[in-house]
Amino acid sequence: MTIDATTLKSIFSDIATAIAADRDRLCALDGVIGDADHGIAMELGFNAARDAVSALGAEADPTTIFNTAAKAFLNAVGASSGPLYATAFMRAGASAKGKSVLSDAEFVEAFRAMAQGIRDRGKAEPGEKTMIDAWVPAADAAASASAQGANAVAAVEAAASAAAEGAEATKAMVAAKGRSARLGDRSIGHVDPGAASAVTVITAIARSLTAAQT
C-alpha cells in the first residue's frame, strides 16, 4: 500500500478518537502514581494534532503533516507528553523528508523514528517504567516484522502486541523517570500511564491502516 496524506490524516483522527475514549482510564492510572492528568494531556494533544493536520491540503507531504502535528501537539499540551510526542512526530517527519507518499517500509521507518525521538527527548532507558517500555519493543517488533517482509499493517499490528506486553511489564518496574520516579517501591504493581496510552496510540494506528487498506 502507499500511505498518502489522506491516510496519515485519518491515522491522526483515529488516534484522537481512541485516546478520547480512553481518557478517564488514563487519568485514573496517572492518579495512582502521578498527577491524574495523562488522559487529559493526550486528548488535548491528539485533538490539536488532528485538527491541525486536517486543515492541511490534500497535497501536503508526510513531513509537513508530521511537523504540523508536532507543533500542534506541543503547544496544546506542554506537560511531559508534549515534548515527547512532538519530538516523535518531528523525527517521523525527518525520516520522511522529500517523500510525497510513504511505502510500507518507509512508514515503518517513520514509526521507528518516533520511538527513537521519544527516547532521545526523555533520555529514559527501557526498564525505567515510562512510555519507552511500550514504544521501544513496539518499534523493534515493527522493524523485524518489516524486515521479514510484513506490510505496514502487519508490522504495526506486531508493534501493538509488543507495546501491550511492554506496558503490562511496567507493572513490575520501579519508576526511575518522570513524576512517579519519587515513589520508589510504591510504584510497583501499577501500569505506567504513558506506556498504557502508547498501546492505545499504536493500536489505533494499526486499526487505521487496516481500514485504509480495505
Partner: protein, 335 residues
C-alpha cells in the same frame, strides 16, 4: 460523584482564569501580544538586568504568576493545570524579560517542565538570547539527601524565586544571579502533608484516594504519593514529624537564622496553619534557631487540596539581604 467547582468549562479554566487575573491586576501584569499564556511584569524587565522567567502548571496559584512583579520574577509561562507550559509561551516570556544580560529560567524539577524549558532554551539560542536554568528541588520528601538533584520543587519556590528576583533587581551579573538562585535552592527545605485530594477542572474527580482518618506525609503538590501513609495525628505531632525531617537535613547551628513559610495546599484554613506555626516557633526556639520572618497562608496550592507544608529557608547574610529586598507583585508584596 463529581466535585463541585465554580467554573464554566474545565477545558477553558486556565484561559478564563488569566483573563480574570489581568482584569484584576492590570497595574502589575500584562500578557504578551498574541501569547496569552505569557504573563509579564509591567515594572520588571529593563536593559542590563538579568531577566527572571518562572513557570509551570496552573492550579498552584498564587504560584507561579502571583510572583511576577518588580523585585521578583519578570515573566511567567503558564501551563495547563498541573502541566508544564509548552516552549512557545516560555520563549515569549524570555524575549519579554530579556534585558540583554541573560535570562534565568527557574521552575520546579519535573520531567515535563525540564523538557519544555530545555526545548525553549535550544530555540532561544537561535535568537541570541542566553538562557540558563536553575531547577528548584526543595521537597525533602521526594528523594534521599544524596539525590537532592532528583527532588521536586514545591512551596519553597517562594523563597528561591524571591532570592533570585532580588539578585536580578539589584542588577547583579548573570553569574551572580545564577549563583544566588542555586544557593537559595540549596538552603530551602520543604515538607508537605495532605489530608484530602483536589480534583482537576477537566475531570471533577478526586485525584487520589485517602481514608477518612488518614494523611499522606510528603505528598507532592500534584497529588503524587509521598513517603508514608499514616493515621491522622495531632497538629503538633504532624509538625514534629515534618520538622524532624527538615532539621535533620538542614542541621542548623544555635543562633542560625531562618525564614519560615507555613503554606496551605488549598483548603486548610489559616486557623490550622497558625496552630502549626505555634508548634514550629516553639520547636525552633528550643534549638535556638531565630525566625527572621514568617509567612502563613496560601502561597503554593494544589487547587483545593487539604493539607499544608512547612518550608525553612536557611539564611546567611546574603540570602537575608535578598529576602529583605522589596518586591511588589500582583499577589505578593514584601519589604
Amino acid at each position: 460523584m463529581k466535585t463541585k467547582k465554580l467554573i464554566n468549562d474545565g477545558a477553558r479554566a486556565v484561559d478564563e482564569m488569566l483573563v480574570g487575573v489581568l482584569a484584576a491586576h492590570g497595574k502589575h501584569l500584562y500578557a504578551v501580544d498574541g501569547s496569552p499564556r505569557s504573563i509579564v511584569a509591567k515594572d520588571g524587565p529593563r536593559p542590563g538586568k538579568v531577566g527572571l522567567v518562572i513557570g509551570g502548571g496552573s492550579g498552584h496559584e498564587p504560584t507561579f504568576l502571583g510572583f511576577v512583579g518588580k523585585g521578583l520574577a519578570d515573566a511567567c509561562a503558564v501551563g495547563n493545570v498541573f502541566a508544564s507550559p509548552p516552549p512557545d509561551p516560555i520563549i515569549e516570556c524570555a524575549k519579554a524579560a530579556s534585558g540583554g544580560a541573560g535570562v534565568l529560567f527557574m521552575y520546579g524539577n519535573y520531567a515535563g517542565d525540564v523538557m519544555n524549558f530545555d526545548m525553549a532554551t535550544e530555540m532561544l539560542s537561535m535568537d541570541d538570547i542566553k538562557a540558563r536554568t536553575v531547577l528548584t528541588t526543595d521537597d525533602v520528601a521526594s528523594a534521599t539527601r544524596d539525590q537532592k538533584q532528583k527532588r521536586r520543587g514545591v512551596a519553597g519556590n517562594f523563597f528561591i524565586f524571591k532570592a533570585a528576583g532580588a539578585a536580578c533587581d539589584r542588577m547583579l551579573s548573570f553569574d551572580d544571579c545564577e549563583r544566588i538562585a542555586r544557593k537559595a535552592n540549596d538552603a530551602t527545605y520543604t515538607m508537605g502533608v495532605a489530608l484530602a485530594p483536589c480534583s482537576l477542572p477537566q475531570t471533577l474527580r478526586p485525584n487520589f484516594d485517602i481514608g477518612t482518618d488518614e494523611m499522606e506525609i510528603g505528598m507532592g503538590i500534584h497529588g503524587e504519593p509521598g513517603v508514608k501513609r499514616d493515621k491522622l495525628q495531632s497538629a503538633d505531632r504532624v509538625v514534629d514529624d515534618m520538622l524532624d525531617r527538615i532539621l535533620a537535613e538542614m542541621s542548623p547551628s544555635r543562633g542560625d537564622k531562618v525564614a519560615l513559610l507555613v503554606n496551605s495546599l488549598g483548603s486548610t484554613p489559616l486557623m490550622e496553619l497558625y496552630i502549626m506555626n505555634r508548634r514550629i516557633a516553639e520547636r525552633l526556639a528550643d534549638i535556638d534557631v531565630q525566625i527572621h520572618a514568617t509567612w502563613v497562608g496560601n502561597y503554593c496550592t494544589s487547587l483545593e487540596m487539604t493539607g499544608a507544608s512547612i518550608t525553612l529557608h536557611h539564611l546567611d547574610g546574603e540570602l537575608q539581604a535578598m529576602l529583605d529586598h522589596p518586591c511588589d507583585c500582583a499577589m505578593f508584596r514584601a519589604g
